[in-house]
């Protein structure tokens, strides 16, 4: 069997973009990330310490002034994201963790977001630039990763009363149990 990546094989690789996500965990293991924690970080039910380190700066950049308007921090946004995962099924969470494992790799960050640097090592300006570049990318898997990671951040934060009220939504009626 030909092990080289010929043109046909390369095209197949491009078309099967989701396979890259599927092998994310495996890649992370091969490159030495296996020493990382598999259990949830302290204060979290699902996100592991490496996810918290990676995503908290991103949550801060994506939600931006919405957090400050509620007197909240990026950690509060991250906790809301963690709460959202409670409703998800194990399979949904596993897919998300595969993507997060992949993003621990500099090469994957470069491919997906346009920047090699870990999100925690980027300044606020650099993170905004990363988001500018990432959201403008034309490869399908980068777009998928952007949407897959950021969409739940909004859902998680603004569905909480503290986030909801900053949109001008007055809130729901009061429930009185008879």
């Amino acid at each position: 069997m030909d092990q080289g990546i010929d043109r046909r094989g390369f095209l197949k690789l491009g078309a099967a973009s989701s396979a890259l996500l599927a092998t994310g965990s495996g890649l992370a293991l091969l490159t030495g990330c296996s020493s990382q924690s598999e259990g949830p970080a302290e204060g979290y039910r699902y996100f592991r310490q490496q996810d918290v380190d990676l995503l908290t700066p991103l949550v801060g950049a994506v939600l931006g002034p919405a957090l400050a308007a509620a007197g909240a921090s990026a950690t509060d946004g991250m906790k809301a994201y963690d709460d959202l995962l409670e409703g998800a099924m194990p399979g949904t969470r596993a897919t998300l963790f595969q993507l997060l494992d992949l993003l621990q790799l500099g090469a994957a960050r470069w491919f997906l977001t346009g920047s090699w640097a870990h999100f925690a090592e980027q300044s606020d300006e650099q993170l905004q630039q990363t988001l500018d570049d990432w959201s403008a990318k034309s490869n399908g898997i980068a777009r998928m990763a952007f949407k897959g990671l950021t969409q739940p951040m909004f859902m998680a934060w603004y569905a909480k009363p503290a986030g909801a009220v900053t949109t001008g939504y007055p809130g729901p009626p009061q429930i009185v149990t008879a």
């Binding site: 399979g91 777009r143 859902m155 569905a159």
Partner: protein, 537 residues
């Protein structure tokens, strides 16, 4: 400014004390020992198909067990908190999406199924759709004329009537826009009784005005001797020879993981009513015979796209009956099997759903989020499954047996979406919008219709950046007498196993072109009645 926060709702919950009602309700979270239960019929799922079937079968004197994976949550616990509603009442905590994240899927997971969280729109199936099923899939006995008495029966049961109150400002946008352009617009029939018009249909109706299965057919079935087992998931069918004789189920803890106990349910007949994705997945996990390899294929979504308009006057899209006006101007414009036709409706918007759909990041995303009180959200539901380029998605199983829908967004859907965007932009400007943008990651707000028309031409229509979602999952177990293309007969019986019936939206050979609940109610009433006839004969 509209503000309902001082409004007090006194909840009268019919589920306050099921035992006092004489209802037999078993909470799977409390099952830690292996047990076996027997009945005439096991119904997997308690939504539109399962609820209707349960009431009909138990009223005919049959011993029915309804099995529901979700935990029981009723009006006294519907606190109108968006995040709790997603966590407790939606599949995958409202994080369900197609495999490539191209479309978000809002599907209920509740005692009462999606009927607990839907927006109450109740339409009879279009004649064009039913004729297409007859002509293409040899569906028998389900013409519009034959179904009309069943629709009538269920409309009466669920108090379905055209909404007579004035539409909320969000829905009034559709009416004004369509009226100005000379397009069809009409009030939506809703399954409500004594509706308070507050706008929380999607979070569980706190007043029990919505005639969901939770307050209609399930209490009806329980009063007739049915048993409800909630917090217990159907794992596999018990198949003996060429017959289904029961269900292997797993009681679930609060966090949806198994308690470890085995629940074995034995019966003469099993009805799968878990809804599309769940019903095909049950057959797939069970290794049910499927000689043509069709189970899970042709799963449809009414891929839905969005347009957001900003108005000078307050819209408050979070308050008021969520859907009360619609337009069928473009549903069959290009014939039943031409370019994608679409139904126009509005969507209610609460902060979580709105910001998740609008997307973006940073300061500009927050700016958009803060426009919510003046925002109107229109949606176009594309009819999928009629054109040869529209074959829908395929249900797959994850390694742990959970269903996943692989539904690539193709050119057919993207072309329909672009046309629908243009249509909705024109409609919202005609309704007086100050600015409108289509649901597309790269689209700005346009200031007028001319600018919008030019702007849309320069957008890249591609998966993921084009906003698409769905609250209607249909198909996957195609019904019809065409043996090459169908797995389920027109009466709901599975072609390759005795004792197995599919009574839910999974059997639709295509999408519908209308919100699906009334179609599921009517077809389920018909096929559950036929099943009752055969089991009591």
């Amino acid at each position: 400014m509209q503000d309902l926060t001082t409004l007090q709702i006194k909840v009268q919950d019919p589920w306050k004390s099921p035992a006092d009602n004489g209802w037999n309700v078993i909470d799977g979270r409390t099952i830690n020992d292996d047990r076996t239960l027997e009945a005439d019929v096991i119904i997997v799922g308690s939504g539109a198909g399962g609820g209707v079937s349960a009431e009909i079968l138990s009223q005919r004197g049959l011993k029915v067990i309804v099995l529901e994976a979700a935990k029981l949550k009723t009006s006294a616990q519907f606190n109108l908190d968006e995040s709790e509603a997603y966590r407790d009442l939606y599949q995958e905590g409202a994080m369900r999406a197609t495999k490539d994240a191209g479309m978000t899927i809002l599907q209920g997971r509740a005692v009462g199924g999606t009927t607990v969280v839907n927006w109450t729109s109740s339409f009879r199936t279009p004649k064009e759709t039913l004729d297409f099923w007859r002509d293409q899939y040899a569906v028998e006995g389900l013409s519009r004329t034959e179904l009309d008495p069943w629709f009538e029966q269920m409309e009466k049961r669920l108090k379905i009537e055209k909404w007579l109150m004035p539409p909320n400002a969000n829905n009034d946008v559709l009416k004004r826009g369509c009226d100005a352009l000379g397009w069809h617009a009409e009030a939506i029939p809703r399954n409500v009784s004594g509706c308070w018009n507050i706008g929380y249909c999607g979070m569980g109706c706190p007043t029990n005005a919505k005639q969901s299965m939770l307050v209609t057919t399930l209490p009806g079935a329980l009063a007739s001797g049915a048993t409800l087992i909630h917090s217990a998931q159907a794992d596999t069918l018990i198949i003996e020879g060429d017959s289904v004789t029961g269900i292997n189920a797993r009681p679930l803890k609060d966090d949806k993981t198994p308690t470890g106990a085995k629940l074995t349910l034995k019966a003469r007949a099993v009805v799968t009513a878990g809804g599309s994705m769940q019903s095909p997945a049950l057959l797939m996990r069970s290794g049910a015979p499927d000689p043509q390899g069709l189970v899970g294929t042709r799963t449809f979504l009414h891929p839905t796209n969005f347009a957001y308009g900003i108005y000078d006057k307050e819209i408050a899209p979070y308050y008021g009956a969520p859907q009360s006006m619609y337009s069928d101007e473009f549903v069959f414009k290009d014939g039943v099997d031409g370019r994608a036709g679409f139904k126009l409706e509005m969507m209610p918007m609460h902060p979580g759903l709105n910001t998740a759909l609008v997307g973006g990041y940073g300061a500009s995303a927050f700016d958009q989020a803060q426009r919510l009180p003046n925002l109107a959200g229109s949606i176009a539901l594309l009819r999928d499954g009629f054109h040869e380029d529209s074959v829908g998605g395929t249900v797959e199983l994850r390694d742990n047996g959970e269903p996943l829908l692989d539904y690539p967004v193709n050119e057919y859907l993207l072309e329909g979406t672009k046309r629908a965007h243009l249509t909705m932009l024109e409609m919202q400007f005609a309704a007086g919008a100050r600015e409108v943008r289509p649901g597309h990651a790269h689209a700005p707000y346009y200031k007028n219709w001319k600018e919008a028309r030019i702007g849309v031409e320069s957008l890249e229509y591609a998966p993921t950046i084009t906003g698409l979602g769905s609250a209607h999952v249909m198909g996957g177990l195609t019904m019809g007498q065409d043996e090459q293309r169908c797995t389920v007969n027109s009466d709901g019986s599975y072609k390759y196993l005795n004792g197995l019936y599919v009574i839910d939206g999974s059997v639709f050979p295509t999408s519908l072109g209308v919100n699906p609940q009334l179609t599921i109610y009517g077809m389920s009433a018909r096929n559950a009645t036929a099943l009752a006839d055969s089991l009591t004969a």
